[in-house]
Point group: C2
Amino acid sequence: VLLGIGDDAAVWQASRSRRSVITTDALVDGVHFRTAQMSAAQIGHRAMAANLSDIAAMGARPVLATVALGIAADTSEEWIRELYGAMAALLRRFGASIAGGDLVRSPALTLSITVVGDVSQSRLKTRAGGRAGDVLAVTGKLGASRAGLALLDAPLALDPQLAAAARAAFATPEPRVREGCWLGASVAVRAMMDCSDGVSTDVARLAAASDCGAVIERVPVAPAAAAVADAAGDDPLDYALSGGEDFELLVAVAPRAFPRLQAAFARRFGRPLERLGALSAAPGIVLATDGKTPSALAPGGWDHVRGAVSRRA
Amino acid sequence: VLLGIGDDAAVWQASRSRRSVITTDALVDGVHFRTAQMSAAQIGHRAMAANLSDIAAMGARPVLATVALGIAADTSEEWIRELYGAMAALLRRFGASIAGGDLVRSPALTLSITVVGDVSQSRLKTRAGGRAGDVLAVTGKLGASRAGLALLDAPLALDPQLAAAARAAFATPEPRVREGCWLGASVAVRAMMDCSDGVSTDVARLAAASDCGAVIERVPVAPAAAAVADAAGDDPLDYALSGGEDFELLVAVAPRAFPRLQAAFARRFGRPLERLGALSAAPGIVLATDGKTPSALAPGGWDHVRGAVSRRA
């Protein structure tokens, strides 16, 4: 960033020969976050992580962000500083910064973030490009964010480490920026997106953009999700398939290249690239996990089939 | 824009050898616009014009915008379409488009716009760079937007053409994108910004960024502002100096080059580049119009001295 806050606009030099990418999210208190139950630092981290996850999903690295904040009458200056501090700290870890923004009065606390990134043309990934037979995989286990949300609503008797893992997954999720750049660099990765709305919905979107269907053969449930769901009397599969906001990356990978990519991923990041299933020539999304009767997932996702799971804080 | 709405992020190719610029504005119903008194098309046009004005103030041309919209429970789909339509139409006139965004539920209607533009390094203008002796000028007469706001609150007996001009200046202001690019191309223009908060405040900001003071010798009052102020019993100078949101560009121009620039501007745009005064070595902003005793304008602007004028709808 060559010129930041204080002029009419911020200025930066986009890399020559690279593509620029941009994403925007709007968040509202009581709809997307809860000032009553979360600290300003958690709200800032989580909101910025969601945007960084979208940048990562393109194979891009973040360059800068702008932040438009609508503050309520009772918002303190300390709260605002803590919010910006957490957003700036997360950006800094990936070499990016807040370049500008706006601060206004609002009847409700609202937060709108825009992140700009860049990526070389050869590494840019979209949701399209997957082919029937491609392996579907995610960069981590699923459902912990939904479990953390459940713990916000009702404290449960639970292993403290698993409870802490669930709370952290919800409040301070880790955007997979390094993983996205690394996966973007592989020609075997044919399509990529982030899992923000629940992997069943997200698989349907990637499959549709790639003119395919998909079979989900394996659901990697996070241990924290399994523990919380058990304690709450919920189905852990619900958390993993439709909880959403795990911010793992979903990829479609050329099948012959998958074993080597999976091994290299594990060496590089110290955890497995989790196999989910495969893209199929037949349209529609089928859930066919071990020992269960295969069942169709409705377009739009698991939540439309099973109902109850709320996907937002 | 190479890839727009529908993936995790929009993609574009920033021009090689050009700088990228970005600006963000947040607007809230009842604070920055009024759904009760303005159409969706007017709200969309005005909000986008404010952002385009910031891009123009850098000497840049707009490339793309993202729009985050928080809709209230009673916002209709037709209203939303009209809002986006007006924003897209204004962008299209300058070769730009909406590349992405977000749509969420909100207790109050909120609108957050980010615009990205680009400019060659040699044409980039900032608020800094002005020197003592530089001529201060604006791209049009001032105060008509404030006059239009007055007509929203109270219908006045008035020449219908002047009333229409005031209403249009408020509801559908014209961002000076072409003027900004043209002025950016002149080496005689040493500093530039847009007049969004009232020219007295904006002159103080440009002067401070340029390590100067300023003398305002002449205030070009728009005929519609004079007529409405007269009818309302207000001071037309108030409207012109502190009304704000006229979205004219304010420039500091090398004094010897000013006459030729002014003549060329009039030939190119069919209206005068309006001389306001000059930057001074002495700090502070002095108002020294014909036949009046020179008076200091407080830093922060005319409104702090004279009080009453509300600068926002």
